[in-house]
C-alpha cells in the first residue's frame, strides 16, 4: 500500500490553508473550552469554597470539602459500590460475554438472532432499564416475588433490603451490558487468523489447549479493551441508580456520581459537589492514562 500514507507530514502550499484553519477550528475549540475544559477547571476552583451557587464563591475553606469525604460513610459506601461494579464486571460479566461469544462467533443456526437479543438491552437507556427492573424486583407486583411465591415463600422486597439492594443493581448492570462486551469479543474472534488454529489442530492440540494458547492470547487486545470499558462505565454509572433505588435504602446503593447528585446537586452544595467531581476526575484520568500506558501500549 503506497497510496494511503497515514504518517504524511508534507507541507502543501496554497489552497487557502490558513483561512481554512481560521474557519474550521475555532467553533470546535470554543465549544470544547466553554463546556468541557472550563467547567473542569472551575470544579477544582469551586472545590475550595463553601458556596451555594449564588453570587461569587467567597467563603474559602481550603481542603475542608475534601477532608469531609474521608470517613464519610455514605461516600465510602459509594466508592465501595463502584469497586463492586468493577469486580462484578470482571468476574461475572466478562467470562459470560466471552463464553457466549465463543458459541455465537460460529455459524450456528440462529446465531444472528441470539446476538441481536443479547445486544438489545445495551441500546435501551439506563433509566428505562432501571425502571423495568424496578418492576421486576417489586415486592408486590414484580417477577421476583412471583418466583418466590411459587415456592411458598413470602414476597421479597429486594430493592428495599439494605443487604441485597446493591446485588440487585449489579444484576441489572450485567443484564444490560454483557451483550456489548459479547459483541466486542465476537468482532475479535472473527478477525483471528484461522490458519493458526487449523495448524494447531493438525498438530494434535486439544480444544482446551487451542483456546488457552491461541484464542485467548490473540484475543488479548479485545479483552483489555473490554476491561477498559467495564471500568470506565462503572466509574460513571448514574442513570440506573435513580429509577432502581434512588441511592437508598440508607444510602447503601449510591455510586460516586449518584452521591454527587444527591449530596451535591440537589442540595446546591457547589463546593462540596465539585470536590466529589474532582475526586472522580482523578480516578478516571489516573485509570485511563495508567491503563493505556501499562496494558494497552501494544494494542
Amino acid at each position: 500500500m503506497t497510496l494511503a500514507n497515514p504518517g504524511d507530514t508534507v507541507r502543501r502550499p496554497g489552497g487557502g490553508g490558513w483561512l481554512t484553519i481560521l474557519i474550521f477550528l475555532p467553533p470546535a475549540l470554543l465549544l470544547f473550552t466553554v463546556f468541557v475544559a472550563m467547567p473542569m477547571g472551575e470544579a477544582a476552583w469551586y472545590s475550595f469554597y463553601n458556596w451555594n451557587g449564588y453570587g461569587r464563591p467567597e467563603s474559602f475553606v481550603g481542603l475542608k470539602n475534601y477532608f469531609s469525604l474521608i470517613g464519610n460513610g455514605a461516600f465510602e459506601r459509594a466508592l465501595v459500590n463502584n469497586l463492586l461494579i468493577i469486580v462484578a464486571s470482571l468476574a461475572i460479566q466478562l467470562p459470560l460475554a466471552l463464553g457466549v461469544a465463543l458459541i455465537l462467533a460460529k455459524r450456528i443456526t440462529g446465531a444472528v438472532a441470539f446476538r441481536m437479543i443479547f445486544f438489545l438491552p445495551y441500546i435501551l437507556a439506563d433509566v428505562a432499564a432501571g425502571l423495568i427492573w424496578r418492576f421486576v424486583f417489586d415486592g408486590d407486583y414484580g417477577l421476583a416475588s412471583a418466583i418466590t411465591s411459587l415456592f411458598g415463600a413470602p414476597p421479597v422486597y429486594l430493592l428495599a433490603d439494605k443487604n441485597w439492594a446493591f446485588s440487585a443493581v449489579l444484576v441489572v448492570i450485567i443484564w444490560k451490558y454483557f451483550g456489548f462486551h459479547m459483541m466486542l469479543y465476537i468482532a475479535g474472534l472473527q478477525s483471528l487468523d484461522k490458519s493458526l488454529l487449523e495448524a494447531a489442530e493438525m498438530d494434535g492440540a486439544s480444544a482446551v489447549q487451542r483456546f488457552r494458547y491461541i484464542t485467548l492470547p490473540l484475543l488479548g487486545p479485545m479483552i483489555r479493551l473490554s476491561v477498559f470499558f467495564s471500568v470506565v462505565g462503572a466509574l460513571q454509572l448514574f442513570d440506573m441508580i435513580v429509577p432502581l433505588t434512588g441511592g437508598g435504602p440508607f444510602d447503601t446503593t449510591n455510586t460516586m456520581v449518584s452521591y454527587l447528585y444527591y449530596f451535591g446537586i440537589t442540595r446546591m452544595r457547589v463546593g462540596f459537589g465539585s470536590a466529589v467531581g474532582v475526586v472522580l476526575f482523578l480516578f478516571c484520568v489516573t485509570f485511563a492514562l495508567g491503563y493505556r500506558r501499562f496494558f494497552m501500549r501494544d494494542d
Binding site: 458459541i103 443479547f118 433509566v127
Partner: protein
C-alpha cells in the same frame, strides 16, 4: 467453516450450547416481554399474575397514552435534541478533524491533545460547574443548554475517529486537487466528506444514541415539563402514577419502542457504529 478452536458441534455439545443460549435469551427477554404485557393488564391482574398473558386485554392503557399529547411531546423533544446534537457534532468535529489531518500549524499537537482530553472523563465530573456555566449563559431550561454541552463532550470521540479516517484517504488526491487550484475548503466538501460516509455514520450513531438516552444533563438543565426529553418524561410519569404500575409499564414500553424499532431496522449500522466506534476510539 470453523471460526476458532472449538469443534463444530455435534450431538450433546450442540444441545448444551443451545440450552445455555435459550436460558440466557429468556433472562434477557422476560423482563422486556413482561413489561410490554404488563401494560395490557389491570392492576389486580398484574399483582396476581405478573408473568402470564393478561386475563383481559386492557388496550386503553396504551391508547390513553398514545392519544395524549404528553408522549408525543417528550419523543419530539428527544428527537429535536438528538438531531441538533448529531448535526453539530458532525459539522464541528469533521471540520476540526480535517484541519488536524491535513494542515500543519504551530501548536497543532498541543491543540489536538487538548481536544482529546474530553475522552478521559465523563460529563458527570464537572456537572456542577457546568450547571453554573449554563445558568450564567442564560441557557437554563432550554434545549440549547443540553445540545451544546452534549456536542462539546462528543467532539473528542468525533475528532479522533474522523481524523484517523481522513488521514487514510490517499494524499495524492489532495496534492492533485491543490495543484489544480481547488482549495482546502472545497476539497473538504467535495472529496473528504463524500468519501467518509461510513465513519461519519459511525460518529452520527454514537452521538444520536448518546443524546437519545441522556438523562443526567437534561435532569440538571431543564425544569419545565413541556421541554422534557423522554428519559425525564418517563421518570416524571412514574413519579405521578407510581401506584399504577400497569400505566407505567405501558409508558415504558411506548417510550423504548422507537429505539427497538430503529435497532431492528438498522441493526447492522447500529451494532457496527457502537462497537466499531468503541474499538477504533
Amino acid at each position: 467453516m470453523r471460526w476458532f478452536s472449538w469443534r463444530p458441534d455435534d450431538g450433546f455439545g450442540a444441545l448444551a450450547q443451545y440450552a445455555v443460549l435459550i436460558v440466557l435469551a429468556g433472562i434477557v427477554l422476560v423482563p422486556l416481554v413482561a413489561t410490554a404485557l404488563g401494560g395490557f393488564k389491570e392492576l389486580g391482574d398484574l399483582r396476581a399474575n405478573p408473568f402470564g398473558l393478561p386475563k383481559i386485554w386492557v388496550w386503553s392503557n396504551y391508547w390513553d397514552i398514545l392519544s395524549g399529547a404528553r408522549y408525543w411531546q417528550v419523543l419530539g423533544n428527544s428527537l429535536l435534541i438528538a438531531l441538533l446534537t448529531v448535526f453539530l457534532t458532525l459539522a464541528l468535529s469533521s471540520m476540526a478533524a480535517f484541519t488536524f489531518a491535513h494542515l500543519h500549524f504551530f501548536g497543532e499537537r498541543f491543540l489536538l491533545n487538548y481536544m482529546l482530553l474530553g475522552l478521559l472523563f465523563p460529563a458527570a465530573t464537572a456537572i456542577l460547574p457546568l450547571f453554573i456555566k449554563i445558568r450564567d449563559l442564560g441557557l437554563l431550561n432550554s434545549h440549547w443548554g443540553i445540545v451544546l454541552p452534549q456536542v462539546a463532550f462528543a467532539l473528542g470521540m468525533g475528532i479522533l475517529l474522523l481524523r484517523n479516517a481522513f488521514r487514510q484517504l490517499p494524499g495524492e488526491l489532495l496534492d492533485a486537487a491543490l495543484m489544480d487550484g481547488c482549495g482546502y475548503i472545497r476539497y473538504f466538501f467535495y472529496v473528504t466528506l463524500p468519501l467518509s460516509r461510513p465513519i461519519l455514520s459511525t460518529v452520527a450513531v454514537i452521538a444520536f444514541v448518546g443524546s437519545w438516552n441522556n438523562y443526567l444533563l437534561p435532569l440538571v438543565v431543564l425544569n419545565s415539563e413541556s421541554r422534557y426529553p423522554w428519559t425525564l418524561g418517563l421518570m416524571a410519569y412514574q413519579g405521578e402514577y407510581s401506584t399504577a404500575w400497569q400505566l407505567v409499564l405501558a409508558f415504558i414500553t411506548l417510550t423504548i419502542l422507537p429505539a427497538i424499532v430503529m435497532f431492528v431496522m438498522a441493526q447492522k449500522y447500529i451494532v457496527a457504529g457502537l462497537t466499531a466506534g468503541a474499538v477504533k476510539g
